[in-house]
Amino acid sequence: MTPENTLTDAEITEIQTIFRHFPEKSAACIEGLKVIQQHRRWVSDEAVRGLAEILEMSPAAIDSVATYYNLIFRRPVGRNVILMCNSVSCWIMGYDQVAACVKRKLAIDYGETTEDDRYTLLTIPCLGTCDHAPAMIVNEDLHRDLTTENVAAILNTYE
């Protein structure tokens, strides 16, 4: 018996459009994971199985790819994901003070989500904006030239 696929029709259609562009369905694995994540912020075990069914792959093969990449979230994340650059130029420019500030304000550490599900704090390698270090991304917005003074206000704009 095949249990109902947990993915929504919208997700399934989107994934099916993508795999038509590839010589093999399995080549759409990463794209499929991105679609799922766009729709539900993170990729649950059920979603992995759902994608496996659509792409005719095993859940293990999907998960092997999903767990490889930094930006596929296999655990729930909050409504807003803060990705703090921790690479060299930002380090030189003192990103750790900014990060400490964020952690204090949100009362979470890296890898954690606030209790109200509002923020998840993660690190990300160099954001390619080193001339404006320190920098971070919140959801899809890049914030640069961060200071311990301006970071709190930036975060407040995210509900």
Partner: protein, 934 residues
């Protein structure tokens, strides 16, 4: 093979030019450590352990580090294994690998036979500089066969490369990245692959270990081992079986380059546990007034030999599970006219047909290993993964052959596995499967055809006809294009589909360099065998080099039928007593049954009737079963673990197995019991029977009666063989505790038992070098304690063993006109309304009743069910899981329904070999009552 001159550490060598430096070095006997490379999985360059120094030319003094496994042999190549830079790199690499390793050798099941241990010692890394925390992982439950301990992982990636890429498994993978990489399942659970047990040998450390061994763990050096042959199917894989304290502890692959190579299936590896079963018959028993009561061997022999000597009518029923020698001695005891091969006639006739086709036909049957070299495959009617698992594993390799050949043509060596995979991109070669239902190999098939066996035979005959017809069409290869086309035959017209499919298969087989046809007797259809042979004959006529493989059900199916053409029904139907006997004596009959549960073979009613007619039922068997419960005289027969013998596999290859240990009870080889009975019966009363004859002399009398079996006398050195003056020890020379292990019984170390039947001894003393291959009980070489010591036993890695791969093929095609086939094309199958034709369904775990008694295997056996065609079920409103009433041999049975198996309309499937289906003769028609579902 082109030989190329190279310099290793300034010593000139001539080596196989198609190899890489690592394989060549190991073949030369040099010690060069490695992890990710495996002789069957080849090179990917991940572990960086096989580093050597490569010099540009004769003048270069500096050299550069290269990975030997990725370095092609080239003319005048100059490398160094011993250069300090190379040694330092390798020691440093082990040091890095060991940073996170738990160093738990004392409690690790791999300890003492661990490749990581060996390589660590070999590189000289012995001082730990890493002082930080180790990363740790949690382990997973992986089912009854394989234990998981991820912390010991050195990330060589061999497990996934074997499981996923080589064996086609889906549920083991690598997760995460950097130093977090994790090898396991997506979530805890039973490993699904039929070949999961190979992880135990493929893993170079203790991540994947044998869970059945863990239950009664023993270090490698404390095991008594013997070269043996797997008894769990007809393929005859070579195994090493190991014992301690009277119980069998585990099975390992015994490398045979012509048969199973480096691998085994899980039925073969884990199916041994029945040997230790509490249901083992350990003492003779004689039926008193009502029940069987234990007796001494002398009593039993005396009583039974008296019956034999009385000259009453006596028949013997042999077994495809028993050795040639045991079957032969029973035949001698009762006389050939009274000996019956203990299988139903339908099965026996088919096996006879297989023998005829192989012996007298036009086409050679390849060895199991050779199967990997065929580049197009057509499977006719066999669910190979379940009827001959290791053949399925090799067919998976054959499916890669075509694409790999293309890559080789681009000058990329086959051993560069990483490169080959990137280029091949998962494409498979031409592979066709015609079976009544879905099979595990369907996923690699170019096309599948699911139909009734008669229709499968029709397809095969049509393919043969097309091949014959192609002779007139010059451009046969041009039609291979449509063999690839997925649209071939998807029109609405089934006749056109059939035509298109048979044409495209014919074209594909003709386009291949080496086409292979696989069939067998599992569907009990002679038309399948004949149609398969007519394809290979047609291909041969087209000057192709085809191969023909037939699958037979049991370890000695072929051997048994070579001894006798009389089958169970012949014994059962012999209502009329022999002419010279008075009818009244009929109920005085004596039957001697050899290692054969007749209730598995024939209907209960039929079997009951037959046994009721026997006054004396003398049973030689190893485990209690329905037949042994009927015995009047019961003799404890050896399993493979306590017996020597010869088996003939589906290829017609005769192979010798040896007893692992001498049990301290009355259990002995059936042939030993039989020759004791023989000599007791023929000697004068009260005179002790003459000294027993040994194994070799039984062989001699056997081949005197059956000259076509003469080769079996040369399978292994005779009992008198000595290396110098020494026997070959079954125990490694580090065997420990011998003086203490029986001290609770007697402080004096007991005299080790003598083995008069073979050149093997039951001790640790004896010849310490590489013994003759047929007598190799274990692999060990200085510095090489793991299974990878096998390198030292091969002429070249992955090649034949020193002294040649053991086993002898008994037949080569002789193209005798008698075997010429007159096509006997069956009519298309048309379902009879209200009736179902029931076909056997095979399960690697369950269809072999003996291995099914092993606790590990038991966990994997399916519950009885009936499989129906989806549309048939639809019509009657039956859903998956519904219970239906099935009439089985006059008895109603309620069984849950399984759908989506691909079975054609009008057919149903029942798992063969389960207790619920014991004795059913497939195929048969029946009715199904879908009345009240729940």
């Amino acid at each position: 093979m082109s030989m190329t001159n190279i310099l290793i550490d300034n010593v000139p060598y001539a080596v196989d030019g198609s190899k890489n430096v690592l394989a060549a070095s190991l073949s030369l006997g040099l010690n060069l450590p490695y992890f990710c490379w495996h002789p069957a999985l080849h090179s990917v360059g991940a572990c960086r352990q096989c580093a050597v120094l490569k010099y540009k030319n004769a003048e270069d003094t500096k050299g550069k580090i290269v990975m030997a496994c990725l370095e092609p042999i080239a003319d005048h190549l100059r490398i160094s294994i011993e250069a300090p830079e190379a040694r330092q790199f390798r020691a440093g690499n082990i040091e890095a690998l060991m940073t996170n390793h738990p160093h738990d050798c004392p409690v690790c099941d791999e300890g003492g036979e661990c490749h990581l241990q060996d390589m660590t010692v070999m590189t000289g890394h012995n001082c730990r500089r890493y002082e930080f925390k180790k990363r740790t992982h949690t382990n997973q439950y992986l089912g009854p066969f394989v234990n998981h301990e991820m912390n010991r992982c050195i990330q060589c990636y061999r497990c996934v490369r074997f499981y996923k890429e080589y064996a086609g498994g889906k549920d083991l993978d690598v997760f995460a990245s950097h130093d977090d990489v994790y090898f396991g399942r997506h979530e805890e659970g039973v490993l699904e692959s039929e070949f999961s047990g190979n992880l135990v040998e493929v893993c170079p450390t203790g991540v994947f270990t044998d869970k059945t061994l863990k239950k009664h763990f023993t270090r490698k050096w404390d095991l008594t081992d013997a070269p043996s042959i797997c008894h769990q199917c007809g393929v005859g894989c070579n195994i090493i079986a190991s014992e301690r304290y009277g119980s069998i502890r585990r099975i390992l692959t015994r490398y045979n380059g012509d048969v199973n190579g480096y691998f085994l299936c899980d039925r073969g590896r884990f199916g041994y546990e029945y040997v230790n079963s509490p249901q083992r018959i350990l003492a003779p028993a004689i039926k008193g007034d009502c029940a069987l009561a234990n007796a001494s061997p002398e009593q039993a022999i005396r009583q039974i030999s008296a019956i034999i000597a009385s000259g009453k009518k006596m028949i013997g029923i042999g077994s495809p599970q028993a050795s040639l020698e045991s079957n032969f001695l029973l035949q001698q005891l009762v006389g050939p006219a009274h000996f019956y091969a203990g299988i139903p006639r339908a099965e026996g006739k088919l096996i006879r047909r297989v023998i005829t086709l192989l012996k007298n036909g036009k086409v050679r049957t390849p060895s199991l290993a050779e199967v990997k070299d065929f580049d197009a495959v057509f499977v006719i009617g066999e669910d190979v993964t379940n009827t001959a698992p290791m053949l399925a594993l090799n067919l998976r390799q054959a499916a890669k052959k075509g694409p790999v050949e293309l890559v080789k043509a681009m000058h990329i060596p086959e051993w560069n596995d990483a490169a080959v995979k990137d280029i091949v991109q998962g494409t498979t070669g031409l592979f066709y499967i015609a079976t009544p239902h879905h099979t595990a190999l369907d996923e690699i098939a170019t096309r599948t055809y699911h139909a009734h066996p008669d229709d499968i035979a029709r397809l095969a005959y049509a393919v043969a006809q097309h091949i014959n017809a192609f002779s007139s069409i010059a451009g046969a290869s041009s039609s291979t294009a449509d063999a690839h086309s997925p649209d071939a035959g998807t029109t609405a017209n089934p006749d056109a589909d059939f035509e298109a499919l048979s044409k495209s298969i014919a074209a594909a087989l003709l386009a291949a360099k080496k086409p292979l046809i696989v069939s067998g007797i599992s569907l009990y259809s002679e038309a399948l065998l004949d149609s398969a042979a007519s394809i290979t004959n047609a291909l041969k006529d087209q000057a192709k080099d085809p191969g023909l493989v037939f699958i037979v059900p049991e370890a000695n199916s072929i051997g048994l039928v070579m001894l006798s053409d009389q089958f169970l029904e012949d014994a059962y139907e012999k209502e009329e007593p022999d002419e010279d006997e008075k009818p009244s004596q009929a109920d005085e009959d004596t039957a001697i049954l050899l290692e054969n549960d007749l209730y598995e073979r024939t209907f209960k009613g039929q079997t009951d009737l037959f046994l009721r007619r026997q006054k004396n039922i003398i049973v030689l068997d190893s485990l209690e079963n329905a037949t042994t419960r009927q015995a009047t005289h019961l003799l404890p027969a050896a399993t493979f673990a306590e017996a020597d013998g010869t088996l003939i596999n589906n290829e017609g290859r005769a192979q010798r197995f040896y007893q692992v240990h001498q049990p301290d009870n009355a259990v002995r080889s059936s042939w030993k019991w039989l020759q004791e009975l023989q000599s007791a019966a023929s000697s004068e009363p009260n005179v002790p029977p003459s000294a027993s004859t040994h194994f070799d002399s039984i062989l001699q009398s056997l081949v005197r009666e059956f000259p076509e079996l003469t080769a079996i006398t040369t399978l292994a050195p005779a009992a008198g063989f000595r290396e110098g003056t020494q026997k070959i020890p079954r125990e490694p020379h580090r065997y420990s505790g011998r003086t203490a292990m029986h001290a609770n019984v007697n402080v004096n170390e007991p005299q080790p038992p003598e083995d008069a039947d073979s050149a093997l001894s039951f001790t640790m003393e004896g010849y310490a070098g590489v013994p003759p291959p047929a007598l190799t009980p274990f692999y060990w070489s200085p510095g090489w304690n793991s299974v990878q010591a096998i390198n030292k036993y091969q002429i070249e890695v992955g090649g034949p063993l020193h002294g040649g791969n053991p086993g002898k093929r008994l037949f080569e095609p002789s193209n005798i006109p008698a075997a010429i086939l007159t096509p006997n094309i069956p009519a298309p199958f048309t379902p009879t309304p209200g009736e179902w034709l029931v076909l056997p369904l095979y399960h690697i775990f369950g269809s072999d009743p003996l291995s099914a008694l092993s606790p590990g295997i038991k966990e994997r056996i399916p519950q009885p069910y009936i499989a129906l065609n989806d549309s048939d079920a639809d019509k009657t409103g039956i859903l998956e899981g519904h219970y239906v009433e099935v009439l089985l041999n006059g008895q109603k049975q309620r069984l849950p329904v399984k759908l989506h198996t691909g079975l054609p309309p009008g057919t149903a499937g029942l798992p063969k070999g389960l207790a619920a289906t014991a004795g059913l003769q497939f195929p048969f028609s029946t009715t199904i009552n879908s009345g009240n579902h729940d």
